[in-house]
């Protein structure tokens, strides 16, 4: 669906940017309020709900027993997928997964996978025969802008509070899934000619390129993605990376505060 007045919106965002303002009144590097709930869905072995401004996202973790790949007999597997279902916004249509939802799932997947927070060998039950497959599904329920960060947060929070259902599969006792770190994503969109953190819906509609940065516990980079049309300079990247460091650390503390309940 085509948005009706993006040009007027663009002009307004441009005008506000010249005064160092944003369309929803926030500062350039200011985040909307974020609420995180975990363990709220029956049947999911780990679950999280993130309410991030007007964005609402759920993530659920499920486990399956599978045979390991022959070249990696002691390694389990991790899969992370996202669905942009028509429930989330009038702009989403029913049908097979869109390129946007595939990109979203893959960017979140890379941040978690490449951080090494899950030791694939720890998912082994019987080498060469039985390993755990961990599946994180992300369900976007309301797209009010910056679904990437909300999805990343929901996924890692669901994962870090997941219980391996070993008893149900008759392979030992239920135990907490070992997750050694907390990768967090921070996203930026160019709106009114300059980058802003945590774009709202209007800024995404009237903005240009976006950049997603996932940082691990030691502030190492684990996934980067540049999306949409536009170009940026190394100096601009250095600036937003500094912001990402602060924001990711705060959100990492938020996840930690929900664990062990």
């Amino acid at each position: 669906m085509v948005a009706p007045v993006p040009n007027l919106l663009r002009q307004e965002i441009q005008r506000l940017a010249a005064q160092d303002k944003r369309i929803d009144g926030r500062g350039r590097w200011e985040r909307r309020s974020v609420d995180l709930e975990v363990g709220l869905l029956y049947n999911a072995e780990g679950s999280a709900k993130v309410t991030w401004g007007d964005t609402v996202v759920y993530a659920g973790v499920k486990f399956e027993l599978r045979t390991p790949w022959p070249d990696r007999p002691t390694q389990g597997s991790l899969m992370c997928g996202a669905e942009l279902r028509p429930v989330a916004h009038v702009k989403y249509e029913p049908g097979p997964p869109s390129p946007e939802s595939i990109e979203l799932g893959r960017v979140v997947d890379r941040g978690i996978r490449e951080s090494g927070c899950i030791d694939m060998d720890s998912l082994c039950i019987v080498p060469g025969e039985k390993v755990w497959g961990v599946m994180i599904d992300i369900h976007v329920m309301s797209d009010g802008g910056n679904i990437f960060d909300a999805c990343g947060l929901a996924a890692i929070a669901a994962l870090r509070t997941a219980i391996v259902p070993a008893e149900r599969f008759d392979v030992g006792e239920d135990h907490v899934l070992a997750v050694s770190s907390t990768p967090i994503m921070a996203s930026f969109t160019r709106a009114g000619g300059r980058f802003v953190y945590d774009p709202c819906e209007d800024e995404e509609l009237g903005g240009d390129e976006r950049i997603h940065i996932t940082l691990g516990d030691k502030e190492h980079l684990h996934s980067l993605q540049k999306g949409l049309k536009g170009a940026f300079t190394p100096a601009e990247f250095a600036e937003i990376l500094e912001v990402a460091r602060t924001q990711c650390a705060e959100l990492r503390d938020l996840v930690a505060s929900k664990e062990g309940n």
Binding site: N43, G60, G81, V90, D143
Partner: protein, 243 residues
């Protein structure tokens, strides 16, 4: 679903059910409206451990043109289960069960929405099941009628989704997962609480006519209780509250 499980004990010696409910007692129901900011109207229904969330978009222009009706709006209803909503993960995508439930849910809602007010337009109703513990289609119907109300779409009445069934030759209200898996019958209904009409009805299993009558009596009793919770949920957002 039914049969072959006759030895599973679902009623205790004192006549109560495994979770302690009386035969005519429903699971706790919680309802909220306006839960999804991106939607025109939305609702969240928790019934037992089921969680159903519904978003409504529209009325909007109906596309493609061939689905347009000159004299009324069309309802585009989808019922979908999240991959993590069930015991075993379900693959994303529209299966036969979801298609059928979407169809009968749409027909239930078409019976109450004043579609003639919006010729040539479309109203989208998106039902997402986030946790399933038997009775998701009913929770979905309740959520859908609440989301439509929250969106300000005119309706003749709300619709309450509720089921009764039979376990161990006993009629019980609002089957939970074990009762659904090992029970003998399931009778889900969509009830208009003000007019007393039925706009949705399914059944499978084995019921005598007497058992059907009792099950439907339980359904109507529960519908009145759920209706009060629905009205309270709307009043919590919009004020008022006399049914």
């Amino acid at each position: 679903m039914m049969g072959g499980y006759g030895d599973v004990q679902l009623l205790k010696e004192d006549g109560t059910r495994l979770d302690g409910r009386a035969v005519d007692e429903m699971r706790p129901v919680e309802i909220k409206v306006g839960v999804l900011p991106a939607a025109q109207g939305s609702a969240w229904v928790k019934q037992g451990l089921n969680v159903a969330v519904c978003a409504v978009y529209g009325p909007m222009e109906a596309h493609p043109r061939k689905i347009q009706r000159q004299d009324r709006a069309v309802l585009d209803v989808r019922y979908n289960m999240a991959p993590f909503s069930t015991g075993e993960r379900i693959r994303p995508g529209f299966n036969r069960r979801a298609r059928e439930i979407s169809k009968v849910t749409a027909e239930a809602l078409e019976s109450v929405v004043l579609l003639e007010r919006y010729p040539r337009s479309k109203i989208r109703v998106e039902i997402e099941i986030l946790a399933a513990e038997a009775g998701t289609r009913c929770a979905g119907i309740t959520a859908a009628s609440m989301a439509l109300a929250d969106a300000g779409i005119p309706m003749r009445d709300l619709v309450v989704g509720i089921a009764s069934g039979k376990i161990q030759d006993t009629v019980v209200l609002d089957l939970d997962k074990a009762e659904d898996n090992y029970g003998q019958a399931d009778l889900p209904a969509g009830i208009c609480p003000n007019t007393g009409e039925l706009v949705f009805l399914q059944m499978d299993g084995d019921l005598s006519i007497e058992e059907y009558n009792l099950a439907m009596e339980y359904n109507f009793k529960a519908a009145a209780e759920i209706h009060e919770i629905m009205v309270a949920a709307l009043a919590a957002k919009y004020g008022g509250g006399e049914a």
